[in-house]
């Protein structure tokens, strides 16, 4: 009895959660000008087609934005994970005297969110002539210290013996990082990397400010320009949203285990 109740409650809640996304997909596939409102609209699948997608792709630069989001996401993720891993290695395996000072300095990056330094950040980007350049999005994306804190915990778990054995085999410190620590923390790096990728893909406020031309826009910041464009129908807007949503949904479905692990790592251990 109780089991049945729980099962039904869970299934209903899950339906409620995916309802907005199903609605988005359905509207995006309906003929331009029709909506999904009443129950009969929900089950009428007769005219479904991909015309709206074709139209959005033709009339806007959405594919270009998708490409920009992909490039920025990958560059940010790879660079950030490598830099974080190097720093984590230094904190975890190289005993140095000023380590405490540097650690506090870097951890202070968790205190002040980007939202609170928008104005001077914009001014800095302006001076460096980075406004409307994809590096204006990538470089500030590398300042998040969470990767160092997480990876350091995993580096701490790399046994001393391994390092000593590698040292005897003639590895110097860079080799210890590259040949021992990097492979042993691979799964943690993947989780951290996915976390960075999603952060970058969904980053909204800063790209919205720092990118001014249509061709350098990324998806999350480019979408709102559709709202000010009155000629866009609901179906086209939902097709555009779906184009932005589908890649992350796919990444999520494929890499679920890592994502969930990454998120719980950031909260419980971090």
């Amino acid at each position: 009895m109780k089991r049945w109740f729980l099962n039904i409650a869970a299934a209903l809640l899950a339906l409620l959660f995916v309802f907005p996304l199903v609605w988005m997909l359905l509207v995006s596939l309906k003929p331009d000008g029709t909506t999904v409102y009443s129950l009969s609209d929900w089950v009428d699948w007769s005219g479904l087609n991909a015309d709206n997608y074709a139209k959005v792709i033709r009339d806007s630069q959405i594919l270009r934005w998708t490409w920009n989001s992909v490039v920025i996401g990958f560059l940010t993720t790879i660079i950030a994970v490598l830099f974080s891993s190097l720093a984590a290695f230094s904190f975890s395996k190289l005993p140095f005297k000023t380590r405490g000072i540097f650690f506090v300095l870097i951890a202070s990056g968790l205190l002040i969110p980007t939202e609170a330094i928008l104005i001077p950040l914009y001014e800095t980007a302006l001076h460096l002539k980075l406004i409307d350049n994809i590096w204006a999005i990538i470089l500030p994306g590398l300042t998040n210290p969470i990767g160092i804190l997480l990876l350091k915990q995993f580096m701490d778990g790399v046994p001393r013996d391994y390092l000593e054995a590698a040292q005897i085999d003639g590895s110097r410190s860079f080799g210890l990082w590259w040949r021992v620590c990097l492979p042993l923390t691979r799964s943690a790096m993947i989780s951290v990397g996915i976390f960075y990728f999603i952060l970058s893909w969904n980053n909204f406020l800063w790209p919205y400010l720092s990118i001014t031309s249509a061709e350098n826009m990324i998806l999350s910041a480019g979408l709102p320009t559709f709202l000010s464009n009155n000629t866009m129908s609901l179906n086209l807007i939902m097709a555009a949203s779906a184009i932005a949503a589908i890649p992350t949904i796919l990444v999520f479905v494929l890499l679920q285990r890592h994502i969930v692990q990454g998120v719980s790592m950031s909260g419980v251990k971090g």
């Binding site: 099962n7 339906l15 009443s38 190289l94 002040i112 400010l209 932005a244 994502i259 969930v260």
Partner: protein
């Protein structure tokens, strides 16, 4: 005796390495440099620069003149500041408790042996991976008063037409619903990780002692989740204070000014009114408030531990 000898040996070895210390020091710092360069340019420098800018009249073309603390004077004498600050806090009061309660319920549900557990967990987490513009677009239309499915669904239950996004009383609830839906998966996953740390034999023992479901929840689950709970509240308060995307896209701060938040206030002052100096000062005031809240939370939760 033996330890003394090895101790002395170790110190001899250390002393011999003494001249090398600077080198080891530099080598360790070398590994930090790749991270530190962007960190210094795009975090540390803007933090310091912001303080400097807040003391000036500053437009998009650059510094105009030094005005001391006049910008701060302006902020505290402007009633708008208090209104928007209150909006940000009001959103914390609405969003933080609801998202945490809902996340806890979902985590407890997933933790039971239900059918399609992984699929259902994915459904709850899925919205979290979408960008704020996508979720705002979807809900902007779901909440449409005339043609929105939310009203259609509520109509089936007998509710009248609700103006979700244009009614001052409802609009905050609309934004809370969107935000809860979007971020609750994150809260749930953290609680799930916390639930898995509670040893199952505690439940077994309580069952044998005849404790009911509610008692087990109160005396085993809740204490077991207390450290995760602290982190969650901490995260969610800060995240709620930073509200921007949802209101920018869904309401534009409206109706009237009723959903304008601190971050949007800073954005409008800086980028729409071209007053960088004043906006920097606003950022600093808001940042100090956030840090104070973080410190208070830290103090409060720390005391409970001891």
């Amino acid at each position: 005796m033996e330890t003394q000898i090895t101790g002395r040996k170790a110190s001899v070895a250390l002393r011999r390495r003494e001249p090398l210390r600077l080198r080891t020091e530099l080598k360790a710092v070398l590994y930090l440099i790749p991270f530190l360069i962007p960190f210094a340019v795009f975090y540390l420098w803007p933090v310091c620069r912001g303080i400097w800018m807040s003391l000036h009249v500053w437009g998009i073309r650059g510094m105009e003149k030094y005005v001391g603390i006049a910008n701060y004077d302006k902020i505290f004498n402007n009633p708008d500041f208090y209104v928007y600050l209150w909006h940000s806090f009001y959103f914390v009061l609405l969003c933080t408790p609801t998202v945490i309660a809902l996340g806890l319920v979902l985590a407890l549900l997933i933790n039971e042996r239900i059918w399609f557990r992984t699929a259902i967990r994915s459904a709850f987490f899925l919205p979290y991976v979408l960008s704020v513009s996508v979720i705002s677009f979807i809900w902007l239309h779901l909440f449409d008063a005339k043609n929105g499915p939310v009203n259609a669904l509520l109509g089936l239950l007998g509710a009248g037409e609700l103006n979700w996004l244009t009614d001052r009383g409802l609009v905050w609830w609309a934004i809370t619903i969107v935000t809860d839906w979007w971020t609750v998966g994150f809260v749930m996953v953290l609680f799930l990780a916390g639930l898995q740390e509670i040893p199952p034999d505690h439940y077994e023992a309580a069952k044998i002692d005849g404790a009911g479901a509610w008692q087990r929840f109160r005396h085993i689950t809740m204490p077991g989740l207390s450290s995760v709970m602290k982190i969650q509240i901490f995260y969610q308060v800060i995240a709620s204070l930073k509200l921007f995307g949802q209101v920018q896209i869904m309401t534009g701060g409206g109706p009237g000014d009723s959903t304008n938040t601190m971050i949007r206030y800073i954005y409008v002052t800086g980028f729409k009114k071209d007053m960088f100096g004043l906006a920097s000062a606003q950022s600093i005031v808001f940042c100090v408030i956030m840090l104070m809240i973080a410190a208070i939370q830290f103090k409060l939760t720390d005391r409970k531990d001891g």
